[in-house]
């Protein structure tokens, strides 16, 4: 099971946090800091897996991460997940974001947090993988976007 999905930048500023187990808000913030601390001090081009921090369950859990330009994508998972599988999943997530935002960058995640959450929700639900097929995920995201646009347009027409 995926326990948490965290995205933060090179300075540790959280850009997305999604926990699939309940923690208090304080603990969540501490987990983000702890995870950043663990991941950011690692060299580039070494292993993408490491044991989780103490707050999120220690050696029971693994952190599987990828570093893209200014952002770290970290998945915290238990032993029931395949490490390489999760690495692929991160790649699917990033490629999907890239398609949806056209060359995704950190600012997109900041200004469209709701969209990022929606795209993630098409992939992972309750800590389990819902869909891995990128085109399916994008189709859903596009459909939602279309719905949103038509509603906005309708609202504008009404207010005119």
């Amino acid at each position: 099971m995926i326990k948490a999905i965290l995205i933060f930048n090179n300075h540790g500023k959280p850009r997305l946090s999604k926990f699939y187990e309940h923690y208090t808000e304080d603990t969540e913030q501490q987990i983000i800091r702890e995870t950043f601390h663990l991941v950011s001090k690692r060299d580039e081009n070494i292993c993408n897996f490491l044991e989780g921090g103490l707050l999120i369950g220690g050696s029971e859990n693994k952190l599987i991460y990828r570093h893209y330009a200014t952002l770290y994508f970290v998945f915290c998972v238990d032993s029931s997940e395949s490490e390489l599988g999760i690495l692929d999943l991160i790649q699917v997530f990033v490629e999907t974001l890239d398609k949806c935002f056209e060359n995704v960058c950190e600012l997109d995640l900041i200004f469209h947090m709701d969209k990022v959450h929606n795209i993630l929700a098409e992939m992972v639900m309750g800590g389990m993988v819902l869909e891995t097929n990128m085109s399916e995920i994008i189709t859903q995201a596009e459909a939602h976007n279309k719905m949103e646009k038509s509603e906005v347009r309708a609202a504008l027409l009404r207010s005119d």
Partner: protein, 909 residues
């Protein structure tokens, strides 16, 4: 067209975010946020109804503020209102807010449930998915109660859209995890299993997680999934890379699903049906073969996906552990990966080989890679990988290669990362002991360990070397010689001084014949380290000195002089001072015979599981806590110390045993013992306090003793009230306790009550209660009374709330036979549920609702806090009303605790 166009964001939101990003300081950021919060609050409270767009904007701002780590304590109601909107945009943002910010025990759940109910019956797939997501995110029991019946129906209904089916499967899984008793699969089982055959791969992807979880819990009911999983896997593995279209990932067909199918199969033994098994073996061979084919793409994603499947296949082969042919192929494949240029693959290969090393078919094959693994330990850049290499060396170690592996680990220790040193030390210590053929090698190894990584050598490790030296005559002389040499070093680690002091105190005579290590030389060597050591080590050295006086009478005057010096006999530390005084006295008044008896060589330790092994287990698995064997053992030297007030600080073996085992019998001088016919044993009174803290401990015609007590973590405070029931004074009223207590008023007036406070600290777990001895004169007659103080191990419980899943997982982790204690006994009291609950709560553990599938049963969880360690304990009480019997099962990480809890509790119901 991109799915999200960048221009249509909300302007107000963008401005706010830019403001925050431009803040120069944390203070400025907080100020800006507080301003915004006030603004939003006033908008929400204001008279003007907000339109959907504004509500959405404000909720987005709140989400952003929350992400930055600020508390959001309003807006929940507005979010709930958005749920009932019929516009997608508003509904969606409402659900998002709730999934991020509402926890499972919010009061709003009922309102949210209403909105979900509407959306689930809306037949609009988008709305249904939003609702299902919300249930899966919050996953509270109330939601399970409301929807556990409905969701399986949505999942298997013929007309449900695929995307809804996917969400329904994972939603159900979430509810099953939180409230397994509410999700009744019964009639749905077969239809859920058949989702493995669904045409839509997305549905299979979601359903397989559900099926895997259900299979783990009810393997028999779901075992039909094995053949379906095999045939699905076979179709994927044999398909061409283009067959599965969108589910092909960088030329690999459905890698994620393949991995999950292979994981599902790991829940079961190899298929019995020959045809199914044949097909599966074929699949596994195909996967192994594909690994040797040239890659279809140079991209790392291609090899990742391919190898993800390969590693799962290897895990399955190791899990079956029955096909020697496949095992050897798996081992060879992993061997290739050990030298792969991708760090990730080396990491995973080391990890998989660890499990492979424990299979008898492949242990030898794994051993052939020893050089590569040693090389990895030395040269890998990444500490995670080095750690896996150390794990693998540990796993592949046997008698044939132990010396090589231990030597490599020792040399690695000199440069090892701080984070893994302690674990490495434990591993070296265990291997050295386990595979020691000649014990001089063992002694050398441990002393090297202390020299190289003294700071990381825990008590368990040096206790253990002493245990072994004491138990083996053949190594004692060598050990004495080696520690003597090791102590010559100008700077040696304090742990070395401890081992040295202990061993020379016991066996210094074995090397005393050599003038270079004559008794006085030995003593002077030890004493030269004395001033640099901490109090516990000094205490140990003092004990070694008194042992020297017995071993070598010629050192007596020198040592007495040391003991007599102000720095010892007036030491500000009570323990050191007491030892100095007592040892000095002992050495001057006891005859040689008495000294020889009191200070006799330590008897062999009973052979038990190595405490180091237990310590390693603790480090590896949370909840499993080491048993400090040595701590429960009484060292001989303690017996010569005053029985009246055993000191709380460490003695020779760091022994912090609780109360002495011997119950102080009423003294022979007490003439009126018959007044206290209950004297000596007050088990009844004692047992009444297991589940409560206040009450009357003892009462007879003369005296009433009441107790009030409170406990927090490993500390407790007990108030004892001594009430004189007569009209005559009690004089020279004294109480002695084998724990330190403030003295009590020596005089109790007739009809009066005096109070005594006892502070309690639990150092380690214990079985025997402290004894309280009370003496006083009543009308000239001496009264003497000994009572067990109701301090029991459960008083130091901290309740632990946990969900059912966690409970069972921990329950399984504590599966060693000695970790469990069980009793079946007859009910002594009426089997009233409420009374039982009250008692269990009084015990101090958390009473967990909805964990045991049988509602009649009770399960509890708690952690016993002692100074030395924490002992996690789980309890299950199964009443059988018909037979008027109970079955009580206690599991804890420490065997003595399980046993004691079981004994205490069996008397309570």
């Amino acid at each position: 067209m991109p799915a999200v166009s960048k221009g249509d964001g909300m302007r107000g939101l963008a401005v706010f975010i830019s403001d925050i990003r431009n803040c120069k300081s944390k203070e400025a950021e907080i100020k800006r946020i507080n301003k915004e919060l006030a603004n939003i609050r006033s908008k929400f409270k204001g008279d003007k109804a907000l339109d959907g767009y504004s509500k959405k904007k404000y909720v987005c701002k709140l989400l952003f503020i929350f992400l930055l780590g600020h508390d959001i304590d309003f807006g929940h109601m507005e979010a709930v209102n958005l749920l009932s909107s019929n516009k997608y945009t508003e509904k969606q943002i409402g659900y998002l807010f709730i999934s991020v910010l509402v926890n499972s025990n919010s009061e709003l759940i009922r309102l949210i449930n209403n909105a979900i109910k509407n959306d689930l019956s809306s037949r609009n797939p988008t709305f249904m998915c939003l609702a299902l997501h919300c249930i899966a995110n919050v996953g509270s029991r109330e939601m399970a109660e409301a929807f556990a019946g409905e969701i399986p129906r949505i999942l298997v209904a013929g007309d449900t859209m695929d995307s809804v089916k996917q969400s329904a499967a994972l939603c159900l899984l979430r509810l099953y995890k939180t409230s397994p008793d509410l999700v009744l699969m019964g009639e749905w089982t077969s239809r859920v299993v058949h989702l493995l055959n669904d045409q839509h791969m997305g549905v299979v992807t979601a359903a397989i997680s559900l099926i895997t979880c259900l299979s783990q819990k009810n393997p028999d009911e779901f075992k039909t999934c094995v053949s379906l999983a095999v045939s699905r896997l076979s179709r994927i593995v044999s398909s061409a890379s283009t067959d599965l279209q969108d589910y092909t990932y960088y030329f690999v067909p459905a890698p994620w699903l393949s991995c999950k199918l292979l994981r599902l199969l790991q829940c079961y033994p190899p298929p019995e049906d020959g045809a199914v098994k044949g097909r599966l073996v074929e699949c596994l061979e195909t996967i192994l073969n594909k690994a040797q084919e040239p890659p279809k793409s140079k991209k790392v994603q291609h090899s990742n996906a391919k190898n993800a499947i390969l590693f799962e296949a290897i895990s399955l082969i190791i899990h079956y552990d029955s096909e020697p042919n496949l095992l050897v192929r798996a081992c060879n494949q992993l061997g290739q990966f050990l030298q792969h240029r991708e760090t990730n693959l080396r990491y995973l290969a080391l990890e998989s080989m660890c499990t492979l090393a424990s299979s008898e078919f492949s242990h030898e094959a794994v051993k052939t890679h020893i050089e590569t693994v040693i090389n990895a330990l030395k040269t890998e850049r990444d500490v995670s990988v080095r750690q896996r290499a150390a794990d693998l060396l540990y796993a592949m170690c046997d008698r044939s290669n132990a010396k090589q592996i231990v030597a490599e680990m020792l040399s690695y220790l000199e440069t090892a990362d701080y984070s893994i040193r302690e674990e490495m030390v434990l591993k070296v210590a265990i291997l050295a002991e386990k595979y020691a053929v000649d014990y001089s090698w063992y002694v050398d190894t441990i002393l090297n360990l202390i020299r190289i990584a003294g700071d990381y050598v825990s008590e368990e490790v040096w206790y253990r070397v002493i245990q072994i030296v004491i138990n083996r005559d053949d190594v004692q002389g060598y050990a004495a010689k080696t520690v003597f040499e090791a102590l010559q070093a100008p700077a040696c680690h304090e742990n070395m001084v401890k081992v040295g002091g202990y061993i020379l105190g016991e066996f210094g005579n074995l090397i005393a014949g050599d003038p270079r290590s004559s008794p006085l030389v030995q003593f002077n060597l030890l004493h030269s380290k004395f001033h640099l050591c901490s109090v516990p080590t000094r205490a140990l050295l003092l004990s070694a000195y008194i042992k020297f006086i017995n071993l070598f009478p010629e050192t007596k005057s020198t040592i007495q002089e040391v003991l007599r010096s102000d720095s010892q006999i007036r030491n500000s530390d009570v323990e050191l001072q007491q030892r100095a005084v007592e040892y000095l006295k002992l050495s001057s008044i006891a005859s040689t015979d008495v000294l020889a008896t009191v200070l006799e060589e330590m008897p062999p330790f009973p052979e038990r599981e190595s405490s180091i092994l237990a310590k390693l287990k603790k480090k590896k698995g949370p909840g499993a806590v080491s048993n400090h064997l040595l701590k429960t053992r009484k060292a001989c030297l303690t017996d010569i110390k005053g029985i009246s007030t055993p000191s709380p600080s460490a003695d020779l073996l760091g022994l912090r045993a609780g109360p002495p085992v011997t119950a102080a019998a009423p003294s022979a001088g007490s003439l009126l013992v018959d007044v206290f016919s209950e004297a000596g044993v007050n088990d009844d009174g004692f047992l009444r306090f297991v589940c409560k803290n206040n009450g009357v401990l003892f009462e007879n015609q003369l005296l009433q003793i009441g107790i009030k007590s409170e406990y927090r973590q490993n500390l407790g405070r007990m108030y004892l009230f001594y009430g004189n029931k007569t009209s005559v004074q009690f004089v020279t009223f004294t109480t002695t306790l084998n724990v330190q207590a403030k003295p009590v008023e020596p005089l109790i007036e007739g009809g009066a009550q005096v109070q005594q406070v006892i502070n309690i600290e639990c150092l380690t777990d214990f079985s025997d209660a402290p004894l309280l001895n009370i003496k006083f004169r009543y009308g000239g007659a001496l009264q003497n009374l000994t009572l067990k103080l109701p301090v029991t191990i459960n008083k130091f419980f901290q309740p632990t709330e946990m969900a059912s899943h966690d409970f069972f997982q921990r329950w399984k982790q504590l599966s060693l036979p000695q970790q469990e204690a069980q009793k079946i006994f007859k009910a002594n009291h009426a089997m009233d549920t409420e009374v039982l609950k009250a008692k269990l709560l009084g015990l101090g553990m958390a009473l967990l609702e909805n964990v045991d599938p049988n509602p009649e049963n009770f399960v509890c969880a708690g952690v016993i806090q002692t100074k030395a360690q924490q002992v996690g304990s789980l309890l299950r009480l199964e009443p059988n009303a018909q037979a008027q019997m109970y079955r009580l099962t206690v599991r804890s990480s420490k065997d003595t605790v399980s046993k004691r809890l079981c004994e205490l509790l069996a008397e309570q119901f």
